[in-house]
């Protein structure tokens, strides 16, 4: 065997070269749209700015010192809380939906999956404005409740923290449903039957068989909801009345808003990315540890 491989080095190198060639578009894409922008942010974060907001390349730690101010830590903590609540609600809502989808027979399964994805065909902003029409004081929901005499005065629905969470859950729910569905679909029903045969009740077979086996999908869904939800700024502006600054709003304000302070915005963004990288690494290590 070894002789053979050594005898024909040309054929061994060829597939490797083709492999790299196939990887090239992805690599170029990653370098151009992930690595390069991230490096620019890192360079910006150590720079200063002039009075017009232009970046002046020096080396200063001032932006990071400022980012450690309790003001911004509070904003960060609040963003994490909003994203965590959103993720939890999404998980609870998505799990039964994904499970039902996975257990539905062929023609209907496709149709129901399509329904989950249809909202993506409309612009996200338009869908958010639709929620404003529903929730506003003289909106559809209040109109219906008043008409049916369920309430006496219009409820305050829009421009509340609840409205922000509703908007976030609505926007990210499909990102939780789809990965869980992917895991649930692969689960062999015979395993549940086996659990029942061995004396597990419905709750026990869920907790000890179904949940562990769909955990990868659930974990992927948590990542796909939590990460974008924490940086979202449009929903807190539109549905929350911009009362609560989230970290996304603060960063946006540094780049195109009144603050005119790109280096500080870059420092916040870099801290943000570093935290995610750390969390992801810890999570990876934990799951790998469990497998081993």
């Amino acid at each position: 065997m070894t002789d053979l491989v050594q005898a024909s080095p040309g054929t061994a190198r060829l597939p490797r070269f083709t492999g790299w060639l196939l990887l090239a578009p992805l690599a170029v894409w990653l370098i151009a749209f992930v690595v390069a922008p991230a490096l620019i942010l890192v360079v910006y974060s150590f720079s200063e700015r002039d009075e017009l907001g232009r970046v002046v390349f020096t080396f200063t730690l001032e932006n990071y010192r400022r980012a450690a101010d309790p003001v911004y830590l509070a904003v960060f903590g609040r963003s994490v809380a909003y994203a965590a609540i959103t993720t939890a609600i999404c998980a609870v809502l998505a799990y039964p939906v994904a499970w039902t989808l996975a257990r539905t027979r062929a023609p209907w399964r496709g149709r129901l999956l399509l329904l989950v994805m249809i909202p993506f065909w409309t612009s996200f902003l338009i869908r958010t404005y639709a929620w404003i029409t529903i929730l506003k004081s003289e909106g559809l929901l209040n109109g219906l409740l008043l008409y049916t005499h369920t309430i006496a005065a219009p409820l305050e629905l829009l421009y509340t923290p609840g409205a922000v969470v509703l908007g976030l859950v609505y926007a990210y729910l499909p990102f939780m449903i789809l990965p869980i569905y992917g895991s649930a679909e692969k689960l062999d029903p015979a395993l549940i039957e086996a659990a029942h045969d061995l004396g597990c009740g419905p709750w026990q077979s869920f907790a000890r068989v179904v949940l562990p086996l769909t955990r990868p999908g659930l974990a992927a869904g948590v990542m796909m909801v939590f990460v974008p939800a924490i940086g979202m700024f449009a929903i807190s502006d539109l549905m929350g009345g911009a009362r609560v600054p989230l970290i996304g709003n603060v960063i946006q304000d540094q780049f195109v808003g009144q603050a005119r302070d790109k280096p500080f915005g870059a420092a916040l963004a870099v801290i943000f990315m570093a935290l995610f990288a750390l969390l992801y690494w810890l999570w990876q290590r934990r799951t790998e540890g469990r497998v081993a």
Binding site: K136, S137, E138, G241, R243, V244, A259, R260
Partner: protein, 342 residues
């Protein structure tokens, strides 16, 4: 299949071939929803110059994109304090007044203001104030100024523009300070007042502050005068009040960046916009204070009587460039908003 290939080829050829000389173009960089489509179409029809209208949502965004230099803009629409900083940094091109005969229509009180003392670089487009809108059907007590507005009983019934510098300036004038006095000391004085006010606000919205008033989500607001004018035009229950403690005006300008590729077309557009009948079209759609006296003569008595469009203006008090102090305002407001939200 062959048709598709041919179409694709045609599209490719069209994309890479240089634009024909005849199709001269003007790159206009302006606020979103501030230049009526009819004005742009009319200019193109008359001159054959194609107008590319790119938009921004804040003066700071405009400045940032202009400085990054991705595209060359021929005509921009900066607010007064941004223009001041741009003139100081030699980013604007002096105007050729000989090419702007219609300048004669402008009222002198809107010229030679502190941001451009010799009116050498900028032409006023529209003037506005920031004032209080009251839904008089729901609020019966008189509202004369900020102290009347920001009261506990109006908690959760107020919209204000989502503009940190604006909000700080209201607190400064309420305390008897100058709105341009942005120092650490004056911000510290204004801090407790702003903290109280923010707790009462239900919505912060700069893009369309009239919407929550119109939807009935709030009954009071501190908004741009043009937004207020639209509300009053649609419904007489809304009233506009210039705050008794003091208020400021903003002058939105037109100017030519130093990097403009086609300053000749920019001058033509400027002079076109200054024509009374064209300027009237802008007033019809965006009812701010029109500085063009000849255009005002073409407006209806109802338009001129709108108290938000044509309030009794005294000496114009405008924002000045504050440079890096903007970061202090940003931090103060982020802090107070976070605290107010509990």
């Amino acid at each position: 299949m062959p048709t598709v290939v041919r179409l694709l080829t045609l599209a490719l050829v069209a994309a890479i071939s240089p634009a024909p000389r005849a199709a001269e173009s003007l790159n206009l960089f302006a606020w979103s929803e501030y230049v009526p489509q009819a004005v742009i179409d009319g200019f193109s029809q008359e001159t054959g110059i194609k107008v590319n209208y790119a938009t921004y949502a804040s003066g700071e965004e405009m400045l940032s994109k202009l400085l990054t230099g991705g595209a060359a803009y021929d005509l921009i629409q900066p607010p007064d304090y941004i223009a001041e900083a741009m003139i100081r940094n030699k980013l604007l091109r002096p105007l050729d007044r000989a090419r702007l005969p219609n300048l004669r229509h402008l009222a002198p009180e809107f010229l030679a203001l502190p941001h451009d003392p010799a009116s050498a670089y900028t032409v006023p487009y529209m003037i506005g104030t920031v004032g209080i809108v009251v839904n008089t059907e729901r609020v019966k007590e008189p509202i004369r100024g900020y102290r009347d507005l920001f009261q506990k009983k109006y908690s959760n019934r107020i919209v204000v523009v989502n503009d940190n510098r604006e909000i700080v300036s209201w607190a400064l004038v309420t305390l008897g300070l100058s709105q341009n006095d942005i120092t650490r000391a004056s911000l510290a004085k204004a801090r407790p007042l702003i903290a109280e006010w923010l707790k009462l606000v239900k919505v912060f919205d700069s893009d369309s502050p009239k919407t929550p008033l119109l939807n009935g989500d709030v009954d009071l607001g501190v908004v741009w005068s043009g937004e207020a004018a639209k509300l009053i035009k649609g419904n007489k229950k809304f009233a506009y009040v210039l705050p008794a403690e003091g208020y400021h005006s903003f002058v939105d300008l037109l100017a030519i960046p130093a990097t403009a590729k086609n300053p000749a077309a920019a001058h033509r557009f400027l002079d076109y916009v200054l024509r009374p009948e064209v300027s009237k079209l802008i007033s019809d759609e965006f009812p701010y204070t029109n500085p063009n006296l000849a255009a005002r003569k073409l407006l209806s008595p109802e338009q001129l009587a709108n108290p938000a469009s044509y309030p009794p203006l005294g000496k114009l008090d405008t924002f000045r460039d504050i440079g890096k102090a903007a970061a202090d305002i940003d931090k103060l407001m982020t802090d107070l908003k976070t605290a107010a939200a509990k």
